[in-house]
C-alpha cells in the first residue's frame, strides 16, 4: 500500500508555498508517461493527469469530481471496478493484466502507425493510498502495452507457424518412413518374384543348350550363352538392389565395437585374394573402439578393402588403414565428437570429375568386366551404412596415384 507522509522532508517542497507545492505535484503527475487517476474515498475522481486526459480525450476539468463509472459506463461489473472498490474499502492492491477478459478503459493510442490497435491495450494497477486523514484514497496506474501486445502477437503467430511446420515435417517424416518400409517390402517382393522367372529362363536356356546343341550350331549356342550371361548379370543386379534396399530398413544393432577386431576378421576372410595379388596391408596404429553396428561396419571395411584390392595395377600394391579424431583433420566433418577412419591405396585413382558420383547406385567407372566386374552398388551401400550411423563418407584421389576413402563415425550413440 502506498503511504504518503503527513509532512514531506524534501527541502524544495518545504521552502515552497503550498500553492507552488500543488503546481509542482501537478507538473510531476502531468510529466508521467503513464495514466494516473486518483480516486477520493467517496469514489470521485481527484486527480486526472495529462496522459489520461490525452488518451481518453476527456480533459482534467471535465473528469474531476466525477465517478469513474460515469465517465466509462463499460467498466461497471468489471475487474477494474471491483479492484477500485477493494482498494477504497479494504485497502487491497490489484494488478490487472491485459491478457484476461476485458478490463481496460476505452483509451486510444495516439500513434498513427498502430491503426490495427487504435484501442489502447493496457496494463492496470490499482493501489490504496493512505494520506493520513484516516480515509483511504485509491490510485489507478495505467500503462500502454499496445506495442508489447503487438510484438507478442507476432511472436505467437510465428511460433504457431513454426509449430505447424514442425507438425507437417513430422507427418511427412512418418509418411516417408511408412513409404520406405513399403518400398523395402516392395523391393524384397519384386526381387524375390523376379528371381524366379529369371531362374526359369536360365534353366530353359541351359536345357536348349544341352538338348538341341546339334541343331542350334555354334552361332545358336553362342547366343544361348549370351542369354545365360545376361541372366546371370540381371540376377547379380537384383541381389545388389535387394541388399541396398535392406540397408535402409533393418534396425542397426549398435554397441561398443572394436574396429581393430572387425578389420582383423575382414582381412582374414580376404587373405587368399590379398596374397594372390601380393597386397600389403598397413595399420600404423591400432584401430579404436566405436559405438556402431558390428556387421554393417564390417561390410564397410570389406567393401573399401575389396575396392582397393581390385582397382590396383601397381607392382607393389598396398592399403593403409588409419584413424584420427575429427578435430585433428581439417574439413570434411562437421562433428568434432567423431572418429574418422581412412583407407588409402596406391591404386588406379579416380578422375576428379567422378569423385562425387562414385557413391551412386549402379555407378561403375569402367567397362563392366574390367577390374573383376561388379554391380556398382558397393559404395552406395557403404555410404548408406555410414550415414545411418550419423557419419559421412568422402574420397580424395589422384588419377593414377591412388585414392583415400575417409568416413566418420560418431563417438557416442546419437
Amino acid at each position: 500500500m502506498l503511504r504518503v507522509p503527513h509532512k514531506t522532508h524534501a527541502t524544495s517542497l518545504e521552502n515552497a508555498g503550498s500553492q507552488n507545492k500543488v503546481r509542482l505535484l501537478e507538473g510531476v503527475l502531468d510529466a508521467a508517461e503513464l495514466g494516473l487517476i486518483a480516486i477520493a474515498p467517496d469514489g470521485r475522481i481527484a486527480v486526472w493527469n495529462r496522459w489520461i486526459a490525452r488518451a481518453s480525450s476527456i480533459p482534467s476539468k471535465q473528469a474531476s469530481g466525477k465517478r469513474l463509472e460515469r465517465l466509462f459506463p463499460e467498466i461497471v461489473n468489471t475487474r477494474l471496478e471491483t479492484a477500485v472498490t477493494a482498494a477504497l474499502t479494504r485497502g487491497q492492491s490489484s494488478s490487472l493484466s491485459h491478457a484476461f477478459a476485458a478490463t481496460s478503459l476505452p483509451l486510444v493510442c495516439d500513434h498513427q502507425d498502430r491503426a490495427a490497435f487504435s484501442r489502447m491495450q493496457q496494463s492496470i494497477r490499482v493501489e490504496p493510498i493512505n494520506i493520513g486523514d484516516g480515509q483511504r484514497h485509491c490510485l489507478v496506474h495505467i500503462t500502454d502495452v499496445t506495442a508489447i501486445v503487438q510484438r507478442e502477437r507476432v511472436l505467437q503467430e510465428k511460433a504457431k507457424r513454426c509449430q505447424e511446420l514442425a507438425d507437417v515435417v513430422e507427418a511427412r517424416a512418418q509418411e516417408l518412413t511408412k513409404s520406405n518400409e513399403a518400398l523395402g517390402d516392395f523391393s524384397y517382393i519384386v526381387a524375390h518374384d523376379l528371381k524366379e522367372p529369371l531362374r526359369g529362363m536360365r534353366m530353359y536356356a541351359q536345357c536348349l543348350s544341352d538338348d538341341y546343341a546339334d541343331r542350334l550350331g555354334d552361332s545358336g549356342l553362342e547366343q544361348l550363352q549370351q542369354i545365360d550371361n545376361q541372366g546371370a548379370r540381371l540376377q547379380d543386379l537384383i541381389d545388389a538392389l535387394l541388399e541396398f534396399s535392406q540397408v535402409g530398413c533393418v534396425d542397426l544393432a549398435l554397441g561398443e565395437t572394436s574396429i581393430q577386431g572387425i578389420v582383423d576378421e575382414v582381412l582374414q576372410s580376404l587373405r587368399a585374394s590379398l596374397e594372390e595379388k601380393g597386397v600389403s596391408v598397413r595399420i600404423p596404429e591400432e584401430l579404436p573402439n566405436v559405438y556402431c553396428d558390428h556387421i554393417r561396419i564390417a561390410e564397410v571395411f570389406r567393401n573399401l578393402i575389396t575396392n582397393a584390392l581390385k582397382y590396383n595395377d601397381k607392382d607393389d600394391p598396398w592399403i593403409e588403414l588409419s584413424w584420427h579424431h575429427a578435430s585433428n583433420l581439417k574439413g570434411g566433418v562437421d562433428d568434432d565428437a567423431a572418429i574418422v577412419f581412412s583407407a588409402r591405396d596406391n591404386g588406379i585413382g579416380i578422375d576428379e570429375k567422378h569423385l562425387e558420383s562414385v557413391f551412386g547406385v549402379f555407378k561403375r567407372l569402367h567397362e563392366r568386366e574390367a577390374f573383376g566386374g561388379g554391380t556398382g552398388v558397393g559404395l552406395a551401400i557403404v555410404k548408406k551404412i555410414v550415414e545411418r550411423h550419423g557419419g559421412r563418407i568422402w574420397v580424395e584421389s589422384e588419377h593414377g596415384v591412388g585414392s583415400c576413402f575417409h568416413f566418420s563415425l560418431p563417438m557416442k550413440d546419437k
Partner: protein
C-alpha cells in the same frame, strides 16, 4: 516456534479454503475456464524448513508472486510454483501457444494477476472472518530458489521464525498443477494472528 492447536489449524484451513474458493471463482470468471483449487495441507513451520520443503516439493527454481500485507498483523504472502508449471498454468489459462520456450512479458504480468487474485482472496478471507483490516501492496514477481523467495519477504522475519505453510492444488482442463502459499509473518504478527484466530474460536463456541 509455537505450534498450532488442532482447532487453530482447522479454522485456518477453513479460512484458506474459503479464500481459495473465492479465488477459484474469480479465475474461472476471468478465463471462462473451470478452475478448481483445493487446499490439502495447512501447517506452521520455520522459514528455513519451509524453504527446504518447498525445494523438495516444487523444484530448485521457482516463480513466486509476493504481496506485502499490513494491518492487524503484517507480513508477506507468497505464492510459489515450479518454473515449468507456472508456464504451463498461464498458457492453459490464456489458451496461448505452447511453442514459445520462455514466458513472455505479458504472460508474466498475467501470472502476477493470478497470484494477486489468490493471495488477495486468502487475505480477504482472513480479514472478513477474523474481523480485522488487512491492506495489501501490489504483487511483486520473484524468480530463483524457494529460499531466496522467502528471504525476499520484507517483514523482518528470520530463518527461525514461523511461517504459515499451505499447499494448493490447481485443477484445470484435466491438468493438476501444484503450488504453495506461504505467509511469512512479521515479528509479533504470528502471535497477533493466533490471538485473532482464538478470539474467533471463542465467539464461535459462545454462539
Amino acid at each position: 516456534m509455537s505450534n498450532l492447536t488442532e482447532d487453530q489449524r482447522d479454522l485456518i484451513g477453513e479460512l484458506v479454503n474459503l479464500g481459495i474458493g473465492r479465488g477459484a471463482r474469480s479465475l474461472s470468471e476471468m478465463t471462462n475456464e473451470e478452475v478448481m483449487l483445493s487446499v490439502p495441507c495447512v501447517d506452521l513451520r520455520t522459514r528455513s524448513n519451509a524453504a527446504a520443503d518447498l525445494e523438495t516439493a516444487l523444484s530448485p527454481q521457482i516463480v513466486a508472486i509476493r504481496q506485502e500485507f499490513s494491518g492487524a498483523f503484517a507480513g508477506d504472502a507468497i505464492l510459489l510454483f515450479p518454473q515449468s508449471a507456472s508456464v504451463e498454468l498461464i498458457r492453459v489459462l490464456l489458451a496461448n501457444n505452447p511453442a514459445l520456450e520462455a514466458m513472455t512479458e505479458l504472460e508474466q504480468e498475467a501470472l502476477s494477476e493470478v497470484g494477486n487474485v489468490i493471495l488477495n482472496a486468502c487475505l480477504s478471507s482472513f480479514g472478513d472472518m477474523l474481523e480485522v483490516e488487512l491492506s495489501t501492496a501490489l504483487p511483486v514477481e520473484h524468480r530463483g530458489s524457494p529460499e531466496e523467495a522467502l528471504e525476499s519477504a520484507s517483514c523482518g522475519a528470520t530463518n527461525d521464525d514461523a511461517v504459515l505453510y499451505i499447499s494448493i492444488d490447481f485443477s484445470l482442463q484435466g491438468r493438476q498443477i501444484k503450488g504453495y502459499v506461504v505467509f511469512v509473518l512479521g515479528v509479533g504478527s504470528l502471535k497477533s494472528f493466533q490471538e485473532h484466530v482464538d478470539r474467533y474460536l471463542e465467539r464461535m463456541s459462545v454462539s
